[in-house]
């Protein structure tokens, strides 16, 4: 697969819903008859995928939020997995 441009916008997959669950102390991704409990970094990435922000925005925002640099490779790896699993999609 060719590398996703930093200008690509990312959205939660069709029919899926991301929400914070107090009882589990975690973000969860809900889809037909299933649920994934997300760890902290997965929740932080997916909760920024609102269909408006780009991959570049998300990396920059996370680096700001966690006062660190060099997150792009990690974010890319997770985004690739999430696209494969259709947790994320590229809006038209």
């Amino acid at each position: 697969m060719s590398e996703l441009p930093l200008s690509a916008r990312l959205a939660i997959g069709h029919g899926m819903r991301l929400q914070w669950e107090e009882a589990q102390g975690a973000h969860v991704l809900l889809f037909p008859e299933g649920m994934v409990k997300l760890n902290g970094s997965a929740g932080a990435i997916l909760s920024r995928c609102d269909g408006v922000r780009t991959l570049g925005d998300i990396v920059a925002d996370l680096e700001r939020a966690y006062a660190t640099a060099g997150l792009e490779a990690d974010v890319r790896a997770f985004v690739a997995l999430a696209l494969e699993k259709r947790w994320l999609e590229l809006p038209p």
């Binding site: 819903r17 929400q19 669950e21 589990q24 809900l30 889809f31 037909p32 008859e33 649920m35 259709r86």
Partner: protein, 384 residues
């Protein structure tokens, strides 16, 4: 009983809103004695159940039955559940799903519709459900797509349709399904009554798995295909419900709370009613929900088995149906002293498939519902 860690939240709430259903499917897992159960909960009680379960942490909601569309308050329940933050799955035959209702349910916040088909052919679909519903279902599939729901097709597999897996998958692709569940029959309720007429042969099963593999290779991740293997062909049991009382909470039409939708027939347990107790008491404190939590209830070979934390001893209902004791090891496990009951049933299926002959199927039916249970005085057992 030894100390058991307190359970987590009942993440998956299944409301069986009614046992009424226009279909008469031979593999239905509803209890054979469904007609003898009490009246359905009124709307206000279902609304309270939704609120209490959400407060306990329930988040995946299944609305099922019977056929949930026969409840006229379905849209109201969906609206309330959406407001509470549930992800709402409607599990339906599609019968009664008009365009107006599809739209009203969408507006109320329904997240997804799982539509059942019995087969890829009109003849077999209509025969197995004892109704003329194939064309109706095809129209409902179109409506589901048109209204932007993710579409999940569910087809229960057994001896009479498992040879059509290729055609069933092609039908799902034509309909634009995102998910397909090829769910081999689980033998409870009406399916248990019909088990010896439904169990496929191993060769049938292998051909179906091969057809599924070919389809997956061709279609890729455009469509997710789940193939639920019939556990009679396995040598280890399924981790049924992740252990009873662990994540699943089912409420039967009359308000009976169940740790598994088939558990109602387990003897010696008094399942609490939401009419009498709060869900918090039911989930955490009721003897019925605590009975099979942890490992203290296990017998050998489970009690000392290194795999007991992986499969929790399998299915309590299957252990009861096949061996007469719900605390026994699920006889699907080859370590069970009762495993021969499973292999004998499979051997009978092999002979029946090879021999052909007419099936003696008992269709789920309201009139049949009471006699079936009173004849034997207990859920009808196999002739093993």
């Amino acid at each position: 009983m030894s100390a058991v860690r307190p359970p987590g939240p009942p993440l998956w709430l299944l409301l069986e809103l009614t046992y009424r259903c226009p279909l008469h499917c031979v593999f239905c897992y509803n209890p054979t004695e469904f007609a003898a159960t009490g009246p359905e909960l009124p709307t206000a009680e279902w609304l309270r159940v939704l609120k209490e379960a959400r407060a306990l942490g329930a988040v995946q909601l299944g609305l099922s039955g019977g056929e949930p569309l026969v409840r006229e308050d379905l849209e109201e329940l969906v609206g309330a559940a959406h407001g509470l933050g549930y992800y709402i799955n409607l599990i339906t035959s599609g019968i009664g799903l008009s365009e107006a209702r599809v739209a009203a349910l969408k507006a109320a916040g329904l997240d997804h519709i799982q539509l059942s088909f019995q087969d890829s052919t009109r003849e077999l679909n209509d025969f197995l459900s004892s109704t003329r519903t194939f064309d109706l279902k095809a129209e409902v599939a179109r409506l589901i797509r048109a209204h932007g729901y993710p579409m999940v097709l569910n087809v229960v597999l057994h001896r009479h349709n498992i040879g059509h897996v290729e055609e069933i998958l092609a039908m799902a692709e034509r309909m634009g399904a995102q998910y397909v569940e090829l769910a081999n029959t689980q033998y409870y309720g009406w399916a248990w009554l019909n088990r010896d007429e439904l169990l496929p042969s191993r060769a049938q099963l292998e051909r179906a798995e091969e057809a599924t593999r070919r389809f997956r290779a061709r279609v890729g991740n455009k469509m997710q295909v789940y193939f639920v293997v019939p556990d009679y062909f396995e040598t280890r049991p399924k981790a049924c419900m992740n252990g009873l009382g662990s994540v699943f909470l089912g409420i039967a039409p009359d308000g009976t709370a169940l740790p598994c939708h088939a558990a109602r027939m387990l003897p010696g347990l008094t399942f609490p009613s939401v009419r009498e107790q709060s869900l918090r008491e039911i989930w955490f404190d009721s003897p019925a929900f605590n009975r099979f939590r942890g490992e203290g209830w296990m017998k050998e070979p489970c009690a000392s088995c290194p795999e007991r934390g992986r499969d929790y001893g399998g299915c309590r209902c299957q252990a009861y149906l096949l061996t007469g004791d719900a605390a026994n090891t699920d006889p699907v496990c080859e370590l069970s002293p009762h495993h021969h009951l499973v292999t004998q049933a499979v051997a009978r299926a092999e002979r029946a498939v090879a021999g052909g002959g007419a099936a003696r199927l008992r269709f789920r039916d309201h009139r049949l519902s009471i006699p079936v249970v009173t004849e034997a005085g207990a859920p009808v057992r196999g002739q093993d």
